[in-house]
Amino acid sequence: MTLLVTVFAAIISTIIWYMNAPKSKMKLGSLCLMYWGASLMWFVDALFEYAKLGSGYFTPAPAEMLNDFYLGLSVAALGLIIWLVIVLIKDPKGVIKATLFKKVTTEGEA
């Protein structure tokens, strides 16, 4: 379930990235790569688990599934938080700088 939620997050973020590329400065590429990296890693984890459990891997207990779903949503939220921090630190549109530092007006301009 965690793998599935992360894959959906990766697909949605990639579609949004494609719709806005190449002009977008919002660092959406980093978000996509982050989700895809996690999806690939969980895919490997799932393969090893499938090798251990066999077909039982596809029939998890409802409580376990719900826990994994919550985990998947939390992972997607954490990915968004990391991306938000990257955007705020790198400030590609200069919004933070513009907010923090106001332009000094000289006498001539005023």
């Binding site: 590429g29 790569l33 982050m34 990296g37 890693m41 985990l71 954490l78």
Partner: protein, 141 residues
């Protein structure tokens, strides 16, 4: 248990390699590409440091999100030895076994996917430069 440590270690190496490569890259190679099918625009070839950045993002992002999963399952603790499996010898052996199998497989798969991305980019650049030489040839005739 601690499989995310292997891709995280690779991420550290690629981050250092990326910084070294970036410091050595100075001249950006131009590439003429027809973006909308009509008007040719001169763009820059994707530098290798940026391509390494893709791998770095996948490895760091994946490791961070996997570390969170381990935290969720109580496999990471906020005090020494930080990994519950490092508490006794039997669990440590199991953890090392998982790192050498699952962890290495994760790092290999992510790197393989990145290599495919780099290959596709190189092929696209090659195709674009071929088209460019054809356009130049036609103009000379």
């Amino acid at each position: 248990m601690a499989c995310f440590i292997v891709p995280a270690a690779e991420a550290v190496i690629t981050a250092i390699a990326g910084k070294i490569v970036r410091s050595k890259e100075s001249v950006k190679e131009p590439l003429e590409v027809k973006l909308d099918g009509n008007k040719a625009e001169t763009l820059e070839k994707v530098p290798f440091s940026r391509k390494l950045g893709w791998l770095n993002n996948m490895l760091w992002g994946g490791s961070a999100l996997l570390a969170f999963e381990h935290l969720w399952h109580g496999e990471i603790i906020p005090h020494f030895p930080f990994l519950t499996a490092a508490g006794n010898a039997a669990d440590t052996a199991e953890m090392l076994n998982e790192m050498s199998t699952v962890g290495v497989a994760m790092a290999v798969l992510v790197t393989a996917v990145w290599a495919c991305m780099v290959g596709v980019t190189a092929a696209a650049e090659k195709k674009a430069s071929k088209a460019e030489s054809c356009v130049v040839g036609e103009e000379e005739q």
